[in-house]
């Protein structure tokens, strides 16, 4: 397709907003990029998902490049769960070819509704501190940047974490999202991983997850390079700014705004799918 400078500029701006909010709130930008590309630009769903996945890789890499020095990423847990997300991502790329665009739009609408509901809930709960003697092979310790306290944790229910990661990888490729929205709550509530570590580790893994999916879209010619370039440049700039603002920003109103925008986007997608 022909990408005019105006369309490129609009895509860069949307990518920047997606990257900014993604870095500040710990969600991927895909949930904004896909509806923009489908509803505003008029791309077919699969082409939008392909471009969005490429932008999600960029967000993951730039966010993790910054968090890597802060000991928030659990590398070992990430590497183990990546087996499941990459396999899920490849499987999703293969099934996406067989699903009708309408089905994908319906799935997107449902997931966006869930994301909207979950971002409204504050994540500022006090983490439990546990025994630091034995954290197991996959467990770890991290220093909470706000309180300065050292938290230790063991990873429990690994099969649950692996199954969830497979599903997250699958949804990621099918819908052009990062999939963190599925992994982070499960890791934090069921598998003993502190919220901050779960979010940083998930963001870290998403680079591999989204790459496995994006490769399939690229191979099928569903990844428009010019539009992807615009989206990636935007998300990189946006997530860079978001990471700098993230620590001191008042996120309560941002969360409400995000939930409102997402609710609107979800409704648009559902209307389109059910028309």
């Amino acid at each position: 397709m022909l990408v005019t400078p105006v369309l490129a500029a609009a895509t860069i701006v949307t990518g920047a907003v997606a990257g900014l909010l993604g870095a500040m709130l710990g969600i991927g930008g895909g949930v904004f990029l896909v509806p923009f590309l489908v509803l505003v630009v008029g791309l077919p769903f699969k082409a939008a998902a392909g471009v969005s996945l490429a932008a999600v890789i960029a967000t993951s890499s730039s966010v993790s490049a910054t968090t890597a020095g802060r000991h928030l990423i659990n590398l070992r847990l990430g590497m183990a769960l990546e087996v499941a997300t990459a396999a899920g991502g490849l499987a999703g790329g293969l099934t996406a070819q067989w699903l009708a665009p309408r089905t994908l739009e319906l799935m997107f609408g449902v997931i966006a509704t869930i994301v909207a509901a979950s971002v409204l809930q504050s994540s500022g709960k006090e983490e439990k501190r546990s025994d630091c003697e034995d954290v197991g092979t996959l467990g770890g310790r991290y220093t909470d940047p706000t309180t300065g306290l050292v938290h230790c944790y063991r990873v429990i229910r690994l099969p649950v974490a692996l199954t969830t990661s497979f599903i997250a990888g699958n949804v990621s490729t099918l819908l052009g999202l990062g999939g963190g929205i599925i992994k982070v709550p499960v890791l934090a509530t069921l598998c003993g991983v502190p919220m901050r570590v779960a979010a940083a580790t998930s963001a870290f893994m998403i680079g591999v997850t989204a790459t496995s999916g994006a490769l399939i879209y690229y191979g099928h010619g569903d990844l428009a390079p010019t539009l992807a370039a615009a989206a990636i440049i935007g998300t990189q700039a946006g997530s860079g700014v978001g990471l700098r603002l993230g620590a001191r920003a008042e996120t309560a109103w941002l969360r409400r705004l995000l939930a409102g925008v997402l609710g609107f986007v979800a409704a648009m997608m559902l209307i389109r799918a059910l028309r």
Binding site: S60, T66, V208, L215, P225, Q236
Partner: protein, 98 residues
Amino acid sequence: MSGDLRTLERVVGRVLAIGTMTSGTVLLVGLLASFVWPGHPVTSRILTAGILILFLTPAVRVAISFGDYILEREWWFVLWTGIVLVLLASGFIAAFAL
């Protein structure tokens, strides 16, 4: 051991930073070139190169971790990262070589 893990973390962080900067710069050049010479083969080569660097960045950090786990004799992690490398390699071959 935690000292080594932190070294790996730092190396991985640097790889991601370099990959992000490089792919972003190449894609920006490609995007600008596509307005000056739309549809020119060199333009699409530049864009493809930028996207390839973007895709390779997470793969390279997995490969570096794989090598580090071999040196550390952490065989379970050699296995996990090895499987991920095989999955990614098959994706790259299917997308770029077939």
